[in-house]
């Protein structure tokens, strides 16, 4: 492995983390959208809110992480991709603003009308943002981003069959992950009805995702032949792993083994992304810019790698602490000024 590949691998790992944590987070919003009227959907919405409240900000820093590593380590390819794909990216960024603000504020506003408005903004942007991000991936994966600044078609680079597939899959995967994660959370807090409801949702989305994935093969074959060849050639083992993990997750959901089902689901999603990476290797921008050509100077890559290693030493324990703390119920010690 070259130095450049290691750095790109780190950015890719960040992307996987974003897909898993940020994805589950977006998916929560999708289920919020589909939860039904104010009264009927209340239990589901409360559950989602409690599950993502303390972690939603941290979940989204992963994307920032991917960005900054790419613009430092692969500056020109980064500039090419974001300028050609600036429309879906801007829309995704605005979606993140709407979503974050609506989620943060809706608890703090009084009138039901305002709460409903924020709720709708939150839910809708949870659906649209992953769609646009998936469309961006589709644009890159189908080789529609030439290596110069804004050289690609700013519309057709993301309005095309592969992008449509990418966007749809992104939304489905988010919804699926959220449902699986929420099953476990609900059961932990003794909300067995909700756990059952999310289990059903997880099973349904898994089936739909699988079907779309299968249909997607035909789309890629027609629209992104290079990626298709990679996926069916070198990438085949990874694709098969993804299928196996997905089936395992289904089985585990059926027998209500939620914790292991989470792991299997995460593995399946990771494998889908890895399939994309393996499929387009060694190119950063299909069909010609390779990883090593796109990388910046050695000093910068070494600095990046140093910073990433040191940073992870700080970050990982902190993240684990957050997620562990967050699984712990409140003990309501009586502090003056506490509001409960």
């Amino acid at each position: 492995m070259t130095l450049a590949e290691v750095v790109l691998g780190a950015a890719f790992t960040g992307l996987v983390a974003y897909a898993l944590f940020g994805g589950a987070d977006f998916g929560g919003g999708v289920w919020d959208l589909l939860a039904g009227g104010t009264e009927r959907g209340r239990a589901v919405r409360d559950r989602i809110e409690r599950s993502i409240g303390p972690v939603w900000e941290a979940n989204h820093v992963w994307l920032i992480f991917v960005f900054v590593v790419l613009w430092t380590g692969f500056s020109r390819a980064f500039a090419a991709a974001v300028t050609t794909l600036y429309i879906p990216l801007t829309l995704a960024a605005l979606g993140m603003i709407a979503r974050g603000a609506a989620f943060a504020y809706r608890k703090s506003v009084g009138t039901p009308g305002m709460q409903r408005f924020f709720g709708a903004a939150f839910a809708l942007s949870s659906l649209l943002t992953p769609f646009f991000l998936g469309a961006v991936v589709g644009g890159v994966a189908s080789g529609r981003v030439p290596p110069g600044i804004a050289e690609g078609d700013v519309v057709r680079s993301w309005v095309n069959p592969t992008s449509l597939l990418g966007g749809t899959l992104a939304v489905l995967v988010c919804a699926y992950l959220a449902a699986v994660f929420l099953c476990g959370d609900a059961r932990r807090d003794g909300e067995h009805d909700l756990a059952e409801a999310f289990r059903l949702r997880a099973l349904l989305t898994a089936a739909v995702t699988g079907a779309v994935g299968l249909a997607g093969i035909a789309v890629l074959r027609a629209d992104a032949p290079v990626l298709f060849d990679g996926l069916t050639g070198r990438g085949l083992p990874v694709v098969l792993l993804s299928v196996a993990a997905g089936l395992a997750a289904l089985g585990l959901l059926l027998v209500r083994r939620y914790t292991v089902a989470r792991i299997a689901s995460a593995l399946a999603v990771t494998a889908i992304l890895a399939g994309w990476a393996v499929g387009q290797y060694p190119y950063v921008l299909l069909p010609e810019l390779t990883v090593d050509e796109a990388a910046t100077g050695r000093t910068t890559l070494v600095a990046l790698l140093t910073a990433l290693s040191a940073g992870m030493l700080v970050l990982l324990p902190a993240l684990v602490y957050l997620y562990v703390l967050f699984q712990r119920p409140a003990d309501h010690r009586d502090r003056p000024g506490a509001c409960h």
Binding site: H60, V82, T83, A101, S108, A150, T300, A307, L315, Y321
Partner: protein, 448 residues
């Protein structure tokens, strides 16, 4: 018509892109200030409340912690937009120099990650951690605020004084040294000035909220403490900030003489230059200004006869827009001086009598000090950023050459103006509600 024009292509993208960047940054920076300074103030208050067993202080700390949660959310989402915009709007900058100055943003990414995690821990853990563990969980936020601010500001300082690379004959970057690029001549002065500004903005703004409350007759312990703690912080920092202002002005004089000339609206290179306040710059001359003789040479060179370079030294195409820079600079310094007066008033009365000045005028002054500090900080940034024009990387890359040529880019400005108008309105609504009602929850607190 204007709208159609700027949708047409490259050159037309420049103006909307600059405005979009300025709006997004100007919005974000207010919340970034809270991210830097608020954790320290909140945990200090919590600690005092705990030490003295003072339920009022603890309640104050909890209220502030919730406000911090809301402000942090606003800072995080606006920061996310910024990281998109850096690439979308300025590919000429990021594509060519990303390997030189993109690096501090990576470190910043970690700092914000840590901050986001511990904001979650701190708020969610309010009733779940022991007081000691809870207070300790605030320290990573304080540290991350410092590191994060240093990193971003160092990226900006690099744009002002680029170092840490060489250009070959074709203008390609060779030999990029990202660590060196972080420590250019402007970095330390800019960082310290910004860090102190964050404490001034946060301190005066919070104090001003309670000053308004006291003016309405609520003079209980809660309101007095809510005014005293942040005001003390801000009042101690103000004189230091003015000293640092002198330092940073000297750094600008040494490294960016065209910016300094624009700040002072000085056309001719002059020995024994006077300091001009206000006025309108037209046809290479400043009209209607008040001038303090020799003051500029004294400030810059600590010598009344020192020579200050004027705009005439620079080709017309390399001069920044003078009026904006001069006015913004005067605004910052003027407000800084006024806040120094307020701090001195407060400090003197407190030192002699151990109480706040009795007059309502004092409370009125504190009530406007928060907005004034924000204006000073925005004006400072406008000085820095507009004063660098026409360069995005001083002396090396023009802003016009860095902007994206993508068609339709101008709509981004329209969208961002719309989104920020709505967002600002709601942020104010939510914070006001949070201020009135104790049961309202912050976004990171998990339960009802």
């Amino acid at each position: 018509m204007l709208a159609l024009e700027f949708l047409a292509g490259t050159a037309e993208n420049l103006y909307p892109a600059r405005m979009q960047m300025a709006l997004s940054l100007g919005w974000h920076i207010v919340f970034a200030c809270f991210g830097i300074a608020f954790p320290a103030i909140v945990v200090f208050t919590e600690w005092r409340g705990h030490r003295r067993d003072d339920a009022v202080l603890t309640a104050l700390a909890h209220k502030w912690a919730k406000a911090m949660g809301v402000l942090f959310a606003a800072g995080a989402v606006s920061g996310t937009l910024l990281s998109f915009e850096m690439g979308i709007l300025w590919p000429g900058l990021m594509g060519r120099f990303g390997e030189v100055f993109g690096f501090p943003f990576v470190l910043e990414g970690f700092a914000f990650f840590v901050e986001a995690i511990f904001v979650g821990v701190y708020l969610f853990g309010w009733n779940r951690l022991s007081p000691r563990a809870h207070m300790l969980s605030a320290l990573p936020m304080v540290a991350a605020g410092i590191v994060g601010a240093f990193c971003v500001v160092s990226a900006n300082a690099w744009m002002n004084n680029p170092t840490g690379f060489r250009l070959d004959e074709q203008g390609n970057v060779v030999d990029a040294r990202p660590w060196a690029a972080m420590f250019g001549p402007s970095t330390w002065a800019q960082f310290v000035h910004m860090w102190l500004a964050a404490f001034m903005v946060t301190g005066f703004l919070i104090a001003s909220v309670y000053a308004v409350g006291m003016l309405r007759g609520r003079r209980d312990h809660y309101h007095r403490a809510g005014l005293l703690i942040p005001l003390t912080v801000a009042a101690i920092i103000t004189p230091v900030q003015i000293g640092v202002g002198d330092w940073i002005a000297n750094v600008v004089a040494d490294n960016q003489p065209a910016k300094l000339a624009a700040m002072e609206a000085q056309y001719e290179t002059t020995a024994g230059a006077g300091l001009s306040i206000g006025g309108v710059y037209r046809d290479n001359e400043l009209h209607y200004a008040v001038e303090i003789p020799y003051a500029l040479s004294l400030l810059i060179h600590h010598d009344p006869d020192g020579v200050v370079l004027g705009l005439e030294e620079f080709p017309a195409g390399e001069r920044p827009p003078v009026n904006v820079v001069h006015l913004a600079y005067n605004t910052m310094v003027g407000i800084g001086t006024a806040l120094l007066g307020l701090a001195a008033w407060f400090g003197l009365v407190w030192w002699r009598r151990r109480r706040l000045p009795h007059t309502a005028w004092f409370l009125r002054a504190v009530a406007v000090s928060g907005v004034a500090a924000v204006v000073a900080m925005e004006a400072g940034w406008i000085t820095t950023e507009v004063g660098r024009q026409p360069w995005i990387v001083y002396g090396i890359l023009r802003t016009a050459d860095a902007v994206s040529p993508a068609p339709g880019l101008g709509w981004g400005l329209v969208a961002v103006v719309g989104v920020y108008t709505v967002l600002t309105t709601f942020t104010v609504v939510v914070l006001r509600r949070l201020a009135r009602d104790r049961a309202t929850l912050a976004p990171q607190e998990g339960q009802r």
